[in-house]
């Protein structure tokens, strides 16, 4: 099934890169299994898949960052095995990441030619010729960028162009772009595609990883779809339509991993009205009731976490109102927000959720230190009691509560974060990607915990990129796209397709085009 059938039009051109039956696992987690792709000169090829489908692992294998466990890779007809990013670069593969890796303090020209600067007499760098070379590449790309300018302060779009210029200076003929347009404005995106078309005209192959389907249909010639680390299909873009792409990206059964809460809905616990922060999110309004789990879905970068952080008061919000049980919460005041009964389990457990080197007990008590005081000093007994109470309720599996949080598995770490917030007896809990990087068994545990909490009357707002999780857990699903709340899907209507349509903006844009 994975044998690729290049179509007649492309068969005439040579294949620049062929990866066949590649697999990769990280410990027990199978990140990729039996994935194949073929890239031809002069084509733009879209690699599509949901968050977590294995696209990033795939790219890192081509970039020489990860080594595949099995499968063959041919570049320009030669079998290759990359041991380092340098070898991939030498083979003509250039990766342009969503956030470019550049030297902010050095000039554009030096960034492009670092380590390969043109030399004049006595081995010194010929600055004039360095600038000329880079100016030439940039003008070939049709880009108006001063080579002598420092990179710091350049927009992401301009930084990507510097990366592309670097790729060209290395004579790369295979460019891989990982969600290049996610952070770009419309005009920047247009400019990028103009550059891509000129690269194709020179015979380069461009592999796009993107979530924006309209770009795929407008700019790409072929498509490869991945799901759950496996190859689903490849073919010419004409053979696909939006329905087919979304179905193939999503198509899977909901497991029984998701115990739904059976709670009666109570009064409104959290009410958000017209929340706006220019450039980040606009006019966000919704409510969450007691006993309810509301999902907040959307693609990475849609602004979901930013909304959560603004509600909690860590990030600013320009206008809009947040009410918690009838009280208006002031912006930028996490202390008041916490005291009013809102908890936030952040996206990045290791960086924001836990102090990894501190004991489980200390971590679990971190949010209520003031309550565990006796005069000026901490009350050791109250500390131990509190930590024990919550870790037992959440069935934490730990050797000892005095062990550092870093000694726990991902699922148990997440329970410590939950314990920390539950100790504050919140009425509303916002959980951001609660099961990211957690194995399936632990996932079910976290889900069960959240369900039970909701059943006991807690209002839960769950941000998740894991669609089955959102569909399985939430009574209602709010969908965000590019900083806006674009729709709400009720439990009855909920399907992955419905959510993906909203998140990628397909319905709306198609109607607009018609």
């Amino acid at each position: 099934m994975t044998d690729l059938q290049p179509t007649a039009a492309l068969q005439a051109t040579p294949s620049l890169l062929t990866l066949t039956h590649a697999s990769k696992s990280f410990g027990p987690v199978q990140a990729l299994s039996d994935v194949s792709i073929e890239l031809f000169a002069g084509e733009a090829h879209a690699l599509l898949g949901e968050n977590g489908a294995g696209k990033s692992t795939f790219v890192k294998i081509l970039a020489g960052v990860h080594r595949r466990d099995s499968g063959e890779l041919q570049v320009g007809g030669q079998d290759v095995n990359f041991h380092s990013p340098g070898e991939a670069t030498a083979a003509g593969i250039a990766i342009i990441y969503q956030e470019p890796t550049l030297f902010p303090d050095l000039s554009v020209a030096e960034n492009v030619l670092m380590g390969r600067q043109p030399l004049a007499g006595l081995g010194r760098i010929d600055r004039a010729s360095m600038r000329q070379q880079v100016a030439k590449i940039l003008s070939e790309l049709g880009v108006n960028l001063d080579p002598a300018r420092r990179v710091r302060g350049l927009s992401i779009a301009d930084q990507q162009l510097v990366e592309i210029a670097k790729a060209l200076s290395l004579n790369a003929n295979i460019l891989i772009m990982d969600e290049p347009t996610a952070a770009l404005t419309l005009s920047e995106t247009e400019r990028l595609f103009r550059v891509v078309r000129s690269l194709r005209a020179r015979g380069a192959a461009v592999l796009f990883i993107t979530h924006r389907l309209e770009e795929v249909f407008a700019e790409c010639q072929r498509v490869t779809i991945m799901r759950d680390g496996t190859w689903v299909s490849s073919g010419r873009v004409e053979e696909y339509d939006t329905d087919k792409v979304v179905r193939q990206m999503v198509g899977r059964d909901l497991g029984e991993l998701y115990p739904r809460s059976q709670a009666e809905l109570g009064e409104v616990a959290l009410s958000v009205r017209g929340l706006t922060q220019p450039g980040v999110f606009r006019d966000i309004s919704f409510e969450v009731r007691r006993g309810e789990i509301v999902g907040l879905a959307g693609l990475v970068g849609a602004g979901r976490s930013e909304v959560a952080r603004a509600i909690f008061g860590i990030d600013p919000r320009e206008t809009g109102e947040v009410r918690l049980g009838g009280h208006v919460l002031p912006p930028l005041s996490p202390q008041t927000t916490m005291a009013a009964g809102l908890g936030l389990v952040p996206e990045d457990r290791r960086q924001q959720g836990l102090v990894m080197d501190m004991s489980i007990e200390r971590n679990a008590n971190l949010a209520i230190l003031n309550r565990l005081r006796k005069g000026w000093l901490m009350d050791r007994k109250a500390e131990t009691d509190n930590a024990r109470e919550w870790t037992q309720k959440l069935r934490l599996k730990a050797h000892s509560l005095s062990d550092p949080a870093s000694s726990l598995s991902g699922g148990n770490q997440q329970k410590v974060v939950l314990a920390k917030w539950l100790a504050t007896s919140p009425s509303v809990l916002i959980v951001d990607e609660p099961t990211r990087g957690i194995d399936v068994g632990a996932k079910a545990e976290v889900h069960r915990t959240l369900s039970e909490l909701a059943a006991s009357g807690l209002a839960v707002l769950m941000i998740s990129s894991d669609l089955p999780e959102v569909l399985g857990m939430a009574g209602r699903i709010l969908v965000m796209r590019e900083g806006e709340l674009v729709g709400e899907v009720s439990r009855a209507q909920a399907s992955e397709e419905a959510v993906m349509y909203l998140a990628t903006g397909q319905h709306k844009r198609q109607e607009g085009a018609a």
Binding site: T89, P104, D105, I125, R149
Partner: protein
């Protein structure tokens, strides 16, 4: 394609903010103000003798600043230099005591090699041992000083132990410029050229600016870090020999506290402690500025303790300046992106 400016137009920036970018310009201006201001009150400040003294005082700090700048550019720090200066000064002196007829160039080579060996200890710890530079060089600061105490054993080197030709080198001059100052200028120019115009030199900037990008650009980060620390050590070793030549009398405490003056000079001169930013010219002017401030205060008969307070204030001003400048640069970038 909209008309959004891709390269930041320089015309839209105020004269002041452009000046902020070029730290060296404001530093030289400040240097002139302090110098001329002091001279206006006491014209003797600009006398030949007084200027010569000033440059001689600054010379050794300015020399060590060269190595420290290289390390700071890599986003590391070398605290051990003062101990390297001390150990090198004392051991060079002992060499003369043991072999009175030693040719002078050999002593300079000895200082350089000793410093390079001591620097390579720092380099190994930081580049290969992954010890943070602050901790590694704080450790070697004490270890090298401890070795000096053990070797010195309560004794000291006196000018009478040293060959007159060696002492004469420090006091001698060419066209009125002291040998010491000339030597330091040559080293500064050489390294300034190396850092600015050679691939190897640019790698220090690249490394400190974004070490991840440096790896992706194929730079051998470990090797480059190692070389940086060896250079810093070697230059401090050479400075130790000059210290001996200038002062003649050296005991186990020679050079103590120098590291903080050197880092202060570099930072005042616009070398960022966050790596990747700064020039040797700036660092040299920074050293000169601190030296001028010091002797201006002496000339103006200010109590000695003001000198340190003013040095500290200057350091704080320099760092605040950097923060403000980078913050306004970030704001400008955000603004140009929105429009």
């Amino acid at each position: 394609m909209t008309g959004r400016a891709v390269s930041t137009p320089t015309t839209s920036q105020s004269w002041f903010s452009r000046l902020l970018r070029v730290r060296e310009v404001s530093l030289v201006a400040l240097l002139l103000i302090v110098t001329l201001g002091t001279a206006a009150i006491n014209p003797l400040f600009l006398s030949f003798g007084s200027l010569k003294d000033l440059f001689l005082n600054v010379a050794i700090i300015a020399l060590v600043v060269v190595g420290e700048t290289i390390v700071l550019l890599m986003k590391h720090v070398d605290l051990s230099i003062s101990s390297v200066v001390g150990l090198s000064a004392f051991l060079s002196g002992s060499l003369f005591v043991a072999f009175p007829g030693l040719p002078l160039p050999l002593v300079f080579v000895f200082g350089l090699l000793l410093g390079a060996v001591l620097g390579s200890v720092n380099g190994l710890l930081v580049a290969y041992g992954k010890v943070p530079a602050l901790v590694a060089t704080l450790g070697t600061l004490y270890v090298f000083r401890g070795i000096t105490y053990a070797v010195v054993h309560g004794g000291q080197i006196n000018a009478s132990n040293l060959p007159p030709a060696f002492l004469g080198f420090a006091t001698g001059s060419v066209l009125g410029i002291p040998n010491l100052v000339l030597l330091v200028l040559v080293v500064m120019l050489g390294f300034g050229f190396y850092l600015g115009s050679y691939r190897g030199g640019r790698e220090y900037y690249a490394l400190g600016s974004n070490s991840e990008a440096a790896v992706l650009a194929g730079i051998n980060v470990k090797r480059r870090t190692m070389i940086g620390f060896i250079l810093s050590g070697a230059i401090a070793g050479l400075a130790g020999v000059l210290y001996l030549a200038r002062f003649g009398t050296v005991d186990a405490t020679a050079g103590t506290g120098l590291e903080l003056q050197v880092i202060a000079a570099a930072v005042v001169g616009g070398v960022s402690i966050n790596g990747g930013v700064g020039t040797l010219f700036g660092a040299g002017v920074g050293a000169l500025l601190l030296g001028v401030m010091g002797s201006a205060l002496v000339t103006l008969r200010a109590p000695g303790f003001y000198q340190q307070a003013i040095q500290g204030a200057l350091l704080l001003a320099a760092i605040s300046f950097d923060m403000l400048a980078s913050r306004s640069a970030a704001r400008r970038a955000a603004k140009s992106r929105q429009s």
